[in-house]
């Protein structure tokens, strides 16, 4: 589904990613782990197509299509979802409004019929019920006044509504206590399916206790240094990243 080939990317003229190769198939969960400054977040932003993140070599193929020149909203329409490390607040815009706007924008992109108010409300009520989220959350402005855990839960809700083919979780565990972490993991696991894939980007192994990956990759100095099964994460937890970057993790 996702094929990253020899990907080089720079930010503000500074080279960060230096030749990444990665394949993710439908139904798989991959984890990318690495020390600070290894290029983890850059990879997430490059995948999402953020301005200022320039691909200088190689390419990103999604369902066989080169998406490296697409706008962020087009990639979203293709089915890529990025759960942000720090979800952004949008005062005055309710979750319902935001989600409806986003979903219908994606549907338009894909040439699908937009949902009207009634259909949308019905759909979203189903999702909140499924995820055990209070409907109350829908009336609140996007992430405004949300606790860290609530913001992450909101991400899960967005993911459930937008139903992406690939969800990239960019250090979504940072700053979460163990209970919140479990809630996020539970949500993600509920959304795991045969026709979608998940890429978990994290510094720590602990999230991977709850979202169990099929493959783990170690990213350091802009390259994937090693790949392995879920046991690789445990090894990293024990030994740290010293072997890969020369710095303590």
């Amino acid at each position: 589904m996702l094929e990253i080939k020899n990907l080089h990317a720079e930010v503000d003229g500074k080279s960060i990613l230096q030749g990444i190769d990665l394949n993710i198939n439908k139904g798989e969960v991959h984890a990318i782990m690495g020390p600070n400054g290894s290029g983890k977040s850059t990879l997430a932003n490059v995948l999402a197509g953020r301005d200022d993140y320039e691909v200088t070599e190689g390419g990103i193929f999604f369902d066989g299509k080169d998406i490296s020149e697409l706008e962020p909203e087009e990639r979203a329409g293709e089915g890529i979802f990025l759960a942000f490390q720090y979800p952004v607040e949008i005062p005055g815009v309710t979750n319902t409004t935001f989600l409806k706007e986003a979903l219908n924008a994606q549907r338009r992109y894909r040439g699908e019929e937009e949902l009207d108010g009634m259909e949308f409300v019905k759909m979203i009520r189903g999702k909140t019920k499924e995820l055990g989220i209070k409907d109350d959350m829908l009336k609140r402005a996007v992430n405004v006044g949300f606790s860290g855990g609530e913001k992450k839960r909101n991400d899960i809700l967005q993911m459930a509504v937008l139903n992406p083919k690939l969800a990239v979780l960019d250090e979504t565990d940072s700053g979460l206590d163990i209970d919140a972490l479990k809630v996020v993991a539970e949500g993600v696991n509920k959304l795991r399916a045969e026709n979608n894939a998940i890429l978990v980007i994290t510094h720590y192994q602990r999230l991977l206790n709850y979202i169990v990956p099929d493959q783990v990759h170690v990213l350091a100095n802009g390259k994937i240094r090693r790949s392995g099964g879920k046991e690789l994460a445990l090894e990293l937890e024990e030994k740290g990243y010293a072997d890969y970057s020369g710095e303590a993790a």
């Binding site: 953020r50 706008e71 962020p72 706007e101 009207d116 108010g117």
Partner: protein, 485 residues
């Protein structure tokens, strides 16, 4: 909240052209000779078949106007206005012999309002809103008049009110905004042409929204409308005005006066969606919107609430104000002002607390984009006898881009120690993070700006009558098109 959702949905159905009201109606019109003189004033008064007292009132204003300086209140760069280069009266010829019904109204005029999205005939059938249609210097049609009359509500062009209800007009005209208030109001007093008159009798809750739609069509013509609304004891009315004008290279002057009066326990809710042609990106053309709006809460427990969405005009100079004379009276001002391109807006309010336990609330949201300048200017004054007066003011500015300006200028004068006055102000920018977040969820950059700005204005937009919230949200979005990327 439902309204907000629906509106965002409707925003998507918009056409992308920037100012879609910029067309001109080809119609033969009857004009006063160009320029301004006592003869112009007499011409207008004669055209309207006015009584002697009104002509005298106008002439007095005109003579005073000659001596008055341009107003100094405001931070605006206004090119010198050549008052002799303008027409002060323009009426579609077909309106000369007052059409008695819509069937007699020139189809070209009807088509104009259809193109503006407010078809007169359809509106006639739609329940809920009564509309007075003002085209250049005359009222073309007023819907639902008969139905309103049944409950005693008077809603008609002011030119007709002068004929039919001279006592009421004489009593209140100029009672809130005297001719000598400022130069623009003075000019209006001399040459005002049409506008709406509303009277709500004691204890009547007006059964529908009242609305006036102002359209400037003719080249080099100023529009000087005058609106007077009187709410008698215990009555209530919600009134809305909307305005558009063709796209032209020349500047046109719009100097309106609005006066509101509320008696004991009465309430007027006055909303404006202002979308005059703003000029092009380089600042060529556009309307000079120099407007004096003021209400007096004459009676105890009365309330006046102004809500405005200001997106158009090359220059806006406007301060809808409340004189809180009656004890326990309430004044409110909710404002969204958006400037883009080379627009300048200097807008705000004046809350004058005279009575005991009077309260006022000011919520202002200014959005600046392009190379525009946007100023909130507001006065809160508490008189010595206004025991227990309270004010809360919140001014938020949002900047889009690097080349615009936002300014907040509050004036606070209190002569009573028991007064409690609060002022909060913030300035923020639409962040890259917000835009990227929206885009990552599939929303295009322009839609994202529209969404974020609509969120920023929400507190004010939700004060608008439901029927107009949609239009306002669309406007907010359209006004900012081309401001990013």
């Amino acid at each position: 909240m439902a309204a907000t959702q629906e509106t965002v949905e409707q925003v998507q159905s918009l056409e992308m052209d920037k100012y879609k009201y910029g067309f001109v109606t080809e119609i033969e019109s009857e004009k006063a000779p160009k320029g301004l003189s006592e003869d112009t004033v007499r011409f207008i008064s004669a055209k309207k078949n006015e009584p002697e007292w009104l002509l005298e009132w106008r002439l007095k204003a005109y003579r005073l106007w000659l001596t008055m300086p341009e107003p100094k209140w405001g931070k605006l760069e206004i090119p010198e206005i050549d008052y002799q280069d303008s027409y002060y009266y323009s009426s579609p010829k077909s309106m000369e012999d007052r059409p008695q019904s819509l069937d007699e109204v020139d189809p070209e005029l009807l088509r104009t309002y259809e193109k503006l999205g407010i078809p007169i005939k359809e509106q006639e059938v739609l329940a809920g809103v009564a509309v007075d249609y003002v085209f250049d210097s005359v009222s073309v049609a007023t819907t639902f008049r008969e139905q309103l009359k049944e409950v005693g509500v008077i809603f008609c062009p002011i030119s007709e009110a002068i004929q039919d209800y001279p006592e009421l007009v004489k009593k209140y005209l100029g009672s809130v905004v005297p001719a000598g208030d400022n130069k623009h109001a003075c000019l209006n007093s001399a040459v005002f042409t049409d506008g709406s008159f509303v009277y709500i009798p004691k204890g009547v809750r007006c059964p529908m929204e009242l609305s006036t739609y102002f359209r400037i069509n003719e080249l080099n013509t100023g529009q000087f409308e005058r609106t007077l609304i009187v709410a008698d004891e215990g009555s209530y009315v919600s009134y809305l005005e909307g305005c558009t004008a063709p796209q032209r290279d020349e500047n046109q002057l719009h100097a309106a006066v609005v006066e509101l009066v509320t008696m004991d326990d009465a309430e007027i809710k006055y909303s404006t969606v202002q979308n005059w042609y703003p000029g092009d990106e380089d600042g060529k053309g556009g309307i000079y919107n120099f407007v004096t709006k003021r209400g007096i809460c004459k009676g105890k427990n009365s309330k006046i609430s102004w809500t405005q969405v200001e997106t158009g005009s090359a220059i806006t100079w406007k301060y809808p104000s409340c004189i809180l004379q009656g004890d326990n009276s309430v004044g409110e001002f909710y404002s969204v002002a958006i400037t883009n391109g080379r627009q300048q807006a200097d807008t705000g309010t004046k809350m004058i607390h005279l009575g005991k336990n009077t309260t006022s609330r000011i919520i202002s949201k200014g959005i600046s984009a392009g190379k525009s300048q946007n100023t909130y200017r507001g006065l809160v004054r508490v008189a010595a006898k206004a025991e227990g007066a309270r004010n809360f003011t919140q001014c938020d500015s949002l900047l889009v881009g690097e080349t615009c300006g936002a300014h907040t200028v509050p004036y606070i004068e209190s002569k009573n120690r028991s007064a409690r006055l609060e002022h909060e102000a913030t300035t923020s920018k639409i962040s890259e993070d917000q835009l990227f977040y929206c885009r990552q969820r599939g929303i295009s950059e322009e839609d994202a700006v529209g969404l974020v700005v609509n969120g920023f204005c929400r507190e004010v937009l939700q004060e608008l009558p439901m029927e107009f919230a949609v239009e306002a949200q669309q406007l907010v979005k359209i006004s900012l098109e081309g401001s990013v990327g």
